[in-house]
Symmetry: C2
Subunit: 205 residues, 2 copies
Amino acid sequence: MTDGQVRVLLAEDQGMVREALAALLSLEGDLDVVAQVSRGDAVAAAVVEHGIDVAVLDIEMPGMTGIDACAEIRRVRPQTKVVIATTFGRPGYLRRAMESGADAFLVKDAPAAELAEAIRRVLRGEKVIDPTLAAAALSEGANPLTGRERDVLAAAADGSVNADIAARLHLSEGTVRNYLSMAIQKTAARNRAEAVRVAREKGWL
Amino acid sequence: MTDGQVRVLLAEDQGMVREALAALLSLEGDLDVVAQVSRGDAVAAAVVEHGIDVAVLDIEMPGMTGIDACAEIRRVRPQTKVVIATTFGRPGYLRRAMESGADAFLVKDAPAAELAEAIRRVLRGEKVIDPTLAAAALSEGANPLTGRERDVLAAAADGSVNADIAARLHLSEGTVRNYLSMAIQKTAARNRAEAVRVAREKGWL
DNA sequence: GTGCACCCGTGACATCCGTCATGCGGACGT
DNA sequence: ACGTCCGCATGACGGATGTCACGGGTGCAC
C-alpha cells in the first residue's frame, strides 16, 4: 500500500452492503479498506492486527454490537478512530455510542459522500454528529429504568408470559409484575408491548 | 451510454447503501446504473421513463414495498426483469415476491458478487433463488390467516389495546377479541405479542 | 340450493395483567 | 445513624385478555 493512505476497517454483517461500501470507499483515492469483518466480536483483533486508522462499525451485528466493539477498540488501540454507521438513528444509540468513545455517528439514510467525509474529519480530530440527532439525544435525558426493570422488560419483549420471565430470571411472578408495572409507567405506556416499543425507540433496552 | 449496456435501476431507501451498491455495480463493465430511487412508489415511473432492463428492489421502503412495486412493474413494463434484494430472508417474503412476478430473490447477507451474477442470469431468462430459502418457503405452507385476522393482528402489533384496534378497524371490541384469539391459535402462540412475532417471522403480516 | 368459508356480532367465563399497599434486607451517601 | 434507592417478595383488586358457544349475513363452488 502507498504511504499516506488511510487504513480503514469495515464491520458490517450484511455481506452485500459491506462489500458495496468497500467498493465505494475504494473510489476515494486516499482511503484503503484493508480489513472487513462480519461479526462484532472480530473487530478488536482485526484492528490490532492491521493497524487500523479508522474503523467503520455497524451497530447490529452478531457476536457483539458495534457500540461494545467500539469500547473494546478504545481499550486495545486508543489511537484508532471509530465511525458508527447504523440503520436506526435512535437517540439512545447515539448516546451510548458517544459514551463508548465513538468519534462519529452516521445514519445510513445519509448520502454516501458523508461517509468518506466523516472519515477524513475524524482523522483531523473532529467529532461528527447529526445535529438533529444530537438535540434529540440531549432532550431525552438518561435511561430512567433500573437494571432489573430493563432485564424484565427485555425478557418480556418476545411475548413471553410472566411465568416464563420469572423462571428465566429466577424471580417470583409477582415481582415480575411489579417491575413490569414500573417499566410501563416510566415509558408512559399502557401495556408491556407498548413499553417495549417505546423503550426500544429511546434506546433504553 | 455504450450500446449493449444493461440499464439498471436501484430502489433502496438508505442512501448510503444505495449509492454504495451503485458504485459496486458500476465496477462491472456491462452494467449501467441509470436510475436510483429511494421510495417504492417512485419505482414504476422511473422504470418506464428510463427504459430499465433490470430493477433491483429492496422490500422495506417508504411509500410502497418492493414486492408491490414489482407487481406494478409487471403491469406497466413486463419485459423489465426484477431482482428483489432484502435484509430479511423470510420465507413469506420470498413467496410473495414470486407471486408478484420477481425473477430473483437475494438476501443482503450474500456476497456482493452474487448481485451482479443474478442480474446477468435473470437477463438470460433464468430465475435466481436461494435453495435454502426456497425449501423453507415450501415447507411452511400458505398463510393460514384470513384477511381480517391479519388486519387485527397487524393493528395489535404496536401494543394497542382492544378498544383502539376496534375503533381503528370499525369493529366491536368482542369481534377484535375473537379474531385475535383465532390468530393466536393459528400461530400456536400464547398471547398476541407472541402471535405477532411468529407471524412476522413467517411473513404472514 | 346446499354446503362452506369468511365476516361480524353477543354473552359468559377463567385467566392473565397492571396497579397498589406493604414489608424486609442491603448498599450507598451525608 | 439516618434517609434513600434498589432488589425482592406477598396479597388483594379491577380491568384487560383469551376462549368458547352461539347467532346471523354474504358470496362462492360443486
